[in-house]
Amino acid sequence: MAERAATGGAQRPRGEQPGEDHAGNGELAPNRVAEVGSGPPPEDTIIELRDLHKSFGDLNVLNGASLAVEKGTSAVVMGGSGAGKSVLLKHIVKLLTPDHGEPWVKGKRVDEMTGDELDDLRLSIGYLFQGGALFDSMSVEENMNFFLNRHTDLSEGERTDRIEETLSWVNLADTAPKFPAELSGGQQKRIGLARAIILQPEILLYDEPTTGLDPVSVRTVSELIVRLRDERGISSVAITHDLLCADIIADRAHFIYEGEIIESGSLEALERSNHPVLRNFFGS
């Protein structure tokens, strides 16, 4: 992993990030997640998922998944297909509610929120979907304006400025009049990212942010995610099975298997783990 020093390691102000590697120097470190029923997590923990269980019919997808994310850090959840990564992420914004367990975000139980409280929480979270989930009947500009128009009191000029600024930030300022079908996969991901940050969220959730992209685009998108953390202090959870992406963005990595987080720590520590599932995943 000589490449690591030239990617994520070089861009992160190492040693200054809270919760970077709880065990220190690449050791595995168990999740510091409180028991169910023990009340809100500490203030520096922005997301805490406690013992989540979720089934769809006879299929158990989550079997006690737990993880904690500290403010201003990037957590990466890795795992094979069908391990429950996307289902885990959807509990953070109440797209799904657990059969058992507690999802805590910003000190409150998400699964118990309704109405305006839930709307307010969702507006503080940006979500980058796997396929971008851009509204295909709208242009790029309309996609972004749709959010601003409904959730802010900005004037038309201020909205245009915000859109231009955000598109420039993802280096796609010239795509405003284009429709999603006219964009490449990498561009759609970056526009999806621009739309996710247009309301200036505190937390970003990434569902396979680099799947299907070529290595150059993987690096571009991953470096944008790192900049969001470093320049704007956005906390994030990314689910991925892309090692290059994880290597660039992860402050702390978690490995999910059969609906349970089986290892947590730095990415290097996960790669060195003796657990047979991780050895198989990392090909070590």
């Binding site: 797209l95 709307d119 979500y127 979907f129 796997q130 989930a133 295909d136 959010f147 409904r150 309301l199």
Partner: protein, 268 residues
């Protein structure tokens, strides 16, 4: 299919059918629970009215014209055999306004709009656009479902009146060519026995048909799971189920409209 698969039991056709019916009923309940609450998507509702109305205009016009001409041609011979050709305009008006116009127009719209709504919402579901609306606190049920249902409830009767009008004009042109009938005679005879109450009830029942088409198609699209194949299946089912429910609702509405009024309890 084995007969035993139709019997009650988990996974049987009957159990699945009942489960889907229950889900649809729950979806309808959700519509009425949310319909009154903000956000009120006026702009999107108007856009959907444009989609339902303006873009179905040609289809409905051609359908109405064909109905009028064909019905006049088919009925003329039979009526002439009994020496009742003079009754053709009135028979046409009664048939078209009371039954053929509303039902035929609604079935044609079910084909066009049912497939469109089912496929559009279904594809938004599988590409996570509905989830994107949800996590952005944008109330996708209001934005996608309530707007389409309201648009269909308002526009179906308007398109039906238009189709009825075109059908009567088509019938008149057939009569003009076949027997040189004067337009004043045709339209005076046609509407001689039509009451406003008939026109109102038989046209407004298409609001119920519009509700059925929009809510069934939205339900099937909203609950798609899978990919492109499932979206196609949802669009096809939207047309089939909407059409069947329109015919069923028509029987019920006609039965109710033909019931005698309750006797007056006031003594004079």
């Amino acid at each position: 299919m084995r007969f035993t698969n139709l019997l009650p039991g988990r996974g049987s056709a009957l159990a699945n059918g009942l489960e889907r019916t229950g889900e649809l009923a729950s979806f309808v309940g959700e519509f009425f629970a949310r319909f009154w609450k903000p956000p009120y998507e006026w702009k999107e509702t108007l856009e959907q009215m444009d989609e339902v109305g303006a873009r179905s205009f040609l289809l409905v016009s051609v359908t109405g014209l064909a109905i009028g001409i064909v019905m006049a041609m088919q009925s003329r011979g039979t009526l002439a055999a009994y020496g009742a050709e003079y009754a053709l305009p009135n028979m046409l008006a009664l048939s078209i306004i009371k039954e053929i116009g509303p039902v035929f127009t609604s079935l044609v719209l079910a084909g066009r709009l049912g497939a469109g709504i089912g496929a559009e919402i279904g594809s938004m579901r599988v590409t996570e656009q509905i989830d994107a609306l949800e996590v952005a606190a944008l109330k996708p049920f209001h934005y996608l479902v309530v707007t389409r249902v309201v648009a269909c409830v308002f526009i179906f009767p308007v398109l039906t009146i238009w189709a009825d009008t075109i059908a009567m004009i088509g019938g008149y042109f057939e009569s003009l060519i076949a027997s040189g009938m004067d337009y004043r005679v045709f339209f005076t005879t046609a509407f001689s026995t039509i009451r406003f109450a008939d026109l109102f009830v038989d046209t407004m029942k298409t609001s119920i048909f519009g509700f059925i088409v929009a809510i069934v198609s939205s339900y099937l699209g909203y609950n798609v799971r899978g990919g492109t194949r499932e979206v196609g299946q949802a669009a096809m089912r939207a047309v089939v189920v909407s059409s069947l429910l329109i015919l069923l609702a028509d029987v019920i509405v006609v039965r109710i409209s033909l019931m005698p009024p309750p006797p007056s309890t006031t003594d004079h």
